[in-house]
Each structure stands twice: as C-alpha cells, then as structure tokens.
C-alpha cells in the first residue's frame, strides 16, 4: 500500500498531482524513469512518469491527466488514501551528461510533467537548458513555476494565444534552430503528433532528438511485448528499452494506431463508471 501524502489539482482539475510514499523507488529513481500504479483490486496497471522524486523524504511525485476510467479513478484518491500497487523505477534513465551546445526540453500538455525531471537533470549537469512548454489555452498550462526553476530559460506557448507565444511549441523550436545556435540535444514529450512534428523538424539539421513514448503497457518488465514499437525498423519494448528513443527512428504512425487499440472498450469503461459512481463527474 502506497500512501498519498500530498495532492493538488491543476489545469482546471484536468490534471492531478500526487506525492506518494515509496522509499525504495525514490532511492533508485533517475530522470526519465516511470512507475506502474494500480488503485485497487479491479484496477488497471497504469504507467506514469515520475515528475519528481525526493530520496531523503522517500517520496515520488506523479502528475497525470484525467483521460479515462483509470485516471478518473486515481483522481478520487485523497490525501491519506492509498494506491494498492506501485512498482518501479521502470525503463531506462535518460542519458544525462554535460554537452557542448544547448539542450532544449519540450513538453506539450501533460508531457511537461515528463520532461521536468529531465530538464532539471540536464541543468544540474551544467548544461544551458531551454524549456519550451505549451498547452491549448492558458488555464490548461501546468508547472510553469517548476519549469522556470528547472531550466535556464523558459518559453511558454498556447494554441489560442491566451498566454505566452500564440502558436505551437515547434514554432519556438524553429526560432532556436534558425538562430544558428549550436543545439546538442532536443528532448520532447507530449502528444504523439507533437513529437512527430518535432522529430521531422530536427531531422534535416541532424540534431539528436529524444522522444518519450507512452505505449500501452501491462507488466512493464519486458514480459508481454504489448508496448512494442518499431524503431529504425526493429521492434523495441518501450518499458525496458525505452521509454526514450531516437525520435528520427520511431514509427510514430504505428505508435498512434496502437494507442487507439481499445478506444471502444475505454469509452464503455468510462460510461459504466460514470453511471455507477461519480468518476466521470468533471468530464
């Protein structure tokens, strides 16, 4: 049992933050790694990135968007309540080292939670790190203060222009590329089309681009192959070989298709849940 110590909501309640007591995981976790959580006996196993960890306090932080039955169920859990299962740290940590040029970390929507520890890691390793975060509109933007602290420079954008730059995160990336500064690495996490657009943008310039993938998972230990994704024409398991891969090699279209595998069941699950309890209330 893993106790929730702190909880808050952001982006008008569509995103939830939990600080969870998990000392063994916190002691081991490195930027880029994730955990798998299960709320209760009938629950799904849901992978979420550790947006932050505190090994001294023995805690990990998750930040998740409420998109379906399981995340809606997570949202009902309050401080003092428990996740039944949390396992981790899973996946390969980001390879963080001092690099010559600029590091650009890009988070779209809840992807910001995924790039936060990576941004912090690169900065702590002595890099100059630009963070670019975006959301559809001002009210959905998350973690602006944390990302300011984690980076050397923060750029914000909204699709509707209600805050920061009016447009996409890729617009800002383009400005940096066009400025001719040396960029060593771009890291991107967010909706698959966003990651695909960024990889397409950096490819002609030969800029190393890491993307953090969100394949559907079960075990997280390389046992089922459900999280497989084609990278450079070869199948990789996101849970053990990833979640980060070379963005220039990933088959994003294949990933997108597989993410839609259970669309109908997910809708059914959400429907039944909102009929029998208050899960779907704020959707």
């Amino acid at each position: 049992m893993f106790e929730i110590l702190e909880r808050s909501e952001m982006a008008q309640g569509t995103v939830v933050m939990n600080v969870i007591r998990a000392p063994k995981i916190a002691a081991k976790a490195r930027p880029g790694q994730f955990v798998i959580l299960r709320a209760n006996e009938t629950g799904e196993r849901i992978p979420l990135t550790m947006a932050d960890t505190d090994s001294a306090q023995g805690t990990i932080t998750i930040i998740y968007q409420v998109v379906g039955k399981s995340t809606a169920l997570f949202k009902t859990l309050q401080v003092g309540q428990f996740f039944l299962d949390v396992l981790g740290p899973l996946g390969q940590p980001t390879h963080i080292e001092k690099q010559e040029g600029l590091i650009i970390c890009i988070g779209g929507g809840t992807g910001t939670a995924v790039v936060h520890p990576i941004t912090k890691g690169f900065k702590n390793a002595g890099n100059r790190v630009v963070a670019i975060i975006g959301a559809r509109t001002k009210d959905l933007l998350i973690m602006e203060d944390k990302m300011t602290a984690a980076s050397s420079q923060l750029k914000v954008c909204t699709d509707d222009g209600s805050y920061g730059h009016h447009g996409f995160v890729s617009d800002i990336l383009k400005e940096f590329i066009d400025s001719g500064q040396k960029i060593s690495t771009v890291v991107a996490a967010g909706p698959v089309p966003m990651m695909k657009a960024i990889a397409n943008m950096t490819r002609p310039h030969g800029i190393q681009t890491l993307v953090s993938l969100n394949s559907i998972m079960i075990d997280g230990t390389g046992m089922c192959g459900g999280c497989r994704v084609s990278v450079g024409g070869k199948n990789q398991f996101t849970c053990v070989d990833g979640p980060e891969f070379d963005g220039h090699q990933v088959d994003f279209d294949g990933l997108m298709q597989r993410l839609a595998a259970y669309k109908e069941q997910e809708a059914q699950s959400m429907n039944e849940a909102s009929h029998t309890c208050k899960l779907g209330q704020d959707r």
């Binding site: 081991k28 009938t42 497989r228 839609a260």
Partner: protein, 465 residues
C-alpha cells in the same frame, strides 16, 4: 471389487463441451470419493514401482494410493506433501501421460492407473475438508534466504526452507504471487483460488511475500545479497517470441503472454467489472501448438469467438501440447490447421488485423530436434481472414536480472548457468532453477529444480559454500 483387473480406468466427469466453451469454470470436475476409491483399488502396489521413477520429484505413488484406497484421505495427502508442496496444482497440470502414468505397469496391458486424478482428489480433499493444521516448525536458524520469482520453483524453495527454520522472503515483480500459475494458465484449467490457497499457506508458515519488487530495477541481486545469506533466482522464461514477419504490430495481434496476462492476471475476461480491456475476436487465429497455444485458443473461444483456428507449421504428431488439452480443445470447437505457416499480416485503414497470408508446408528431413523439418510448398500462398491473432511460438530468457547482475553467467540463449544437481550458479551464494535455467519447461520440473536447490542451500547455510 473381487478382481482388481476388471475395474476399468475411471473416467473424469467434465463439463459438457458445448456448455464449457463459453464459461471460465474448471473443465474436469474431479472424482467423487467413491470413484477415487474405485480407481485407487486398481493400483497393484508394485514392489518396485516403475511409476515413481517417472515422477520428476519422486512422489511415493503407491505410498499415497494405499491409504487413499483404504479411505484414509488424510494419510494420502500427508504422503503427497512429503514430496510436493503443490499437489492440487500438479494433479491438474502435470503431463502424467508422459511421466508416471506412462511407466505404470498396467499401461503395458491396458490402461494406467489415473495417478494424476487421484493426486488431485487427495489434494482437493485436503484443501476443503482436511485439517488445516500447520506443521510444527523447528527453532529459527537466523539465516535469511531471498527467493526471486514466485512461480512453482520459487514457491517450492520457500516452502522447503521455511520448514527447516530459515527466514524466507519472496520477491515478485507482479502484484500477485504464483508466476505462470496465476498469469499464464487459465482459470478453467487451474482455478486461481487453488494457487492463492497454496501461497496463503506459505504465508501462514511465515514466508514473507514482497510483491511489486522488480529485481534488477527496484533492487539489484547484489543489494539483496547484502541482507540475505543466500538467494534463489526463479524468474521464469518471461520474454515473448515474435515471428518477425511484416504487419506484426497491427492491432489485435498479441503475444500469448500479453493475451493470457490480460485475461488471467488482470481478469479482462470480466471486463468491464475489471478495468483491463481485451480484444474479443470473432475469427481468432492462434499461431503455435503447445500448451500455451491451446490455452490461448480455448480462452478466445470463451471470450465469444465464432471460430478459433490453431495454425501450425508441422503436423499433428509434432504438436507439443498435451494430448488431453488438444482433445479438450477440439471438443470445444477449436480447428487445427496443420502444415501451415504465416508469411505476413495485413490490416485495415485503422491498423486492425484483417488477414494473414499463409504458406502450405510439407515435412522434409529431420532437423536438430529430431522432428521432420517443415518446408514450404512453392506457390501455395493463401489468405486466412481474421480479426485477432495470438502468437504462441515460445518464450525466451528475460534479461532484466542477468543484465544487472555481474558474475552471473548465462549460456548463449541467455539462460542462467546452474549446476543441475544443486542449482548453484557461478556467483557465490546465488542459486537458480526453473524455466530461467532450463528454458520453458513444466511446473513439476521447476518444482524439482527448486527441491534440489533448497537441499543445497540448506546444506550451505549449515556448512558453507
């Protein structure tokens, strides 16, 4: 019962095929006490019983059948427990027809004693009606043993060593203990309550279970060695094989591990009561012909398929599944498409699998395994329509532990090298056994390996490596 030889082998009552093909309840219903007594009476109590040599853990078979025949069910179960910690499991899933029963003298002139069914009867009686008294535990030795993986090999070591007074902790990556017994073998062949009962029994004996512990990630083997005197690695063969043919990532194509884990461990067959979804195919194709393939095929039938086809590149004789499982599957309407091999998968615009292109095969010269090698018949390509595919062509060694443990040696397939007599690996204070050493095998072989390792660990804890 005047003339023993006249009593025929007692059939097992079963759920009728047309009924059971749509439910997840157990297929064989078990002997009644009367049937069990009758069947036990068939055993002629050989002085030199050949059956015992056929049992990988050497159960005293006439020794447990004798009290059973005399109505002393408690005596039968305690005799069984001397050699196996999981009789209710073994009685259900062991391939008796190639082990003990194959050697039974009666098999030469007629039908072997139904040893497996009797074992199951005694174990079920013990579980439901026997005294659930715990055995007397010896004083604590103060020695600490860690067991990694909670399948049959790990559970056997835990059971043996706790009874010898050692402190035992089992580390399991999943949220539930039991290994393949809970995530692989379906409910209709091995009810999960039975496995849970065995795990609970070990917990009552004092075995500690730490679930959600992915060794190699949450903690490493070397870290566990700091707080344990000895470690037993029994992590199974948890890496799915794929075919590496085009279209394999289409939606609706599962590895058997994923399909069975969703259904069994996550209880997707009870969706939406349980949250984990699963594709319910109408025209299902299962590639492969072992026990795993049969389990996947029979699960698909229970999840509402109209047709379920096993596609296998060799012929019926080479099918590795137990005869009983093939028979059960065919009764439930599973079709066998033999001498057929997949070439590629094709899908619709949404990326869902629609068809498989296949080739007909014929049998050529024997290959390394001694079985005749299937060779493609030229220009025999044809198309099978499908909406769900399960790939059940074997499992390999998962590298999570071996790649994070310096000093642990593996063979060229990635399996841990361990002494077959003792389970000792090449890393001091570390033993290994079960599928991670032998490659995918059987429950009873994993238990046998656990038994040998437990003996060796116990000896080490008393005298040193």
């Amino acid at each position: 019962m005047t003339d023993k030889k006249k009593v025929p082998r007692q059939p097992m009552p079963e759920q009728a095929p047309e009924q059971r093909r749509r439910n997840f309840e157990e297929v064989p219903l078990g002997y009644t006490a009367d049937t069990a007594l009758l069947e036990a009476s068939r055993c002629i109590q050989c002085k030199n019983p050949a059956c015992v040599a056929g049992c990988p853990v050497g159960i005293d078979i006439p020794g447990f059948i004798r009290p059973l025949r005399d109505g002393d069910f408690a005596g039968a179960i305690s005799k069984l427990k001397e050699k196996t910690a999981l009789p209710a499991v073994c009685g259900r899933v062991c391939p008796q027809e190639t082990q003990c029963e194959e050697r039974c003298v009666l098999a030469k002139t007629g039908e072997a004693v139904a040893i497996g069914r009797l074992e199951r009867f005694a174990a079920d009686w013990g579980r439901t009606q026997g005294e659930s008294q715990l055995p007397q535990l010896p004083p604590k030795t103060g020695k600490r043993v860690g067991v990694v993986g909670s399948g049959p090999a790990g559970l056997t070591v835990a059971g043996d060593l706790i009874l010898l007074g050692h402190d035992v902790t089992v580390y399991e990556a999943f949220h539930k203990a039991g290994g393949v017994l809970v995530y692989g073998i379906p409910e209709f062949r091995l009810p999960k309550a039975i496995v849970q009962n065995e795990v609970d029994y070990l917990a009552r004996l004092g075995v500690k279970f730490e679930v959600n512990a992915v060794i190699g990630r949450t903690e490493t083997v070397d870290e566990l060695l700091e707080r344990h005197d000895a470690l037993f690695l029994a992590v199974g063969a948890g890496l799915p094989s794929f075919l590496n043919v085009p279209g394999e990532n289409l939606i609706g194509i599962y590895s058997a591990n994923e399909y069975l884990t969703r259904s069994n461990l996550m209880k997707a067959y009870l969706f939406p009561q349980y949250d984990t979804p699963i594709v319910r195919g109408k025209n299902v194709v299962v590639l492969g012909a072992g026990n795993v393939a049969m389990d996947a095929a029979r699960t698909a039938m229970r999840l509402g398929a109209d047709t379920v086809r096993i596609v296998y590149r060799r012929s019926r004789e080479e099918m590795p599944a137990r005869a009983e499982e093939i028979h059960h599957g065919e009764e439930e309407g599973i079709e066998l498409h033999l001498l057929t091999a997949p070439v590629r998968f094709m899908g619709d615009e949404k990326g869902r699998v629609k068809t498989i292109e296949c080739l007909r095969m014929e049998l050529g010269e024997p290959d390394d395994s001694g079985r005749r090698r299937p060779v493609p018949v030229k220009d025999s390509n044809f198309i099978i329509d499908t909406d769900m595919v399960v790939i059940a062509v074997g499992a390999n060694a998962n590298p999570l532990i071996t790649s994070t443990t310096p000093g642990l040696k593996t063979n060229k397939w990635g399996y841990i090298i361990a002494d077959p007599e003792t389970g000792k690996t090449l890393k001091p204070r570390v033993w290994a056994g079960g599928d991670i050493v032998t490659g995918a095998a059987t429950v009873i072989l994993a238990m046998g390996a656990g038994r040998l390792a437990a003996d060796s660990i116990h000896k080490f804890l008393q005298t040193g490596w």
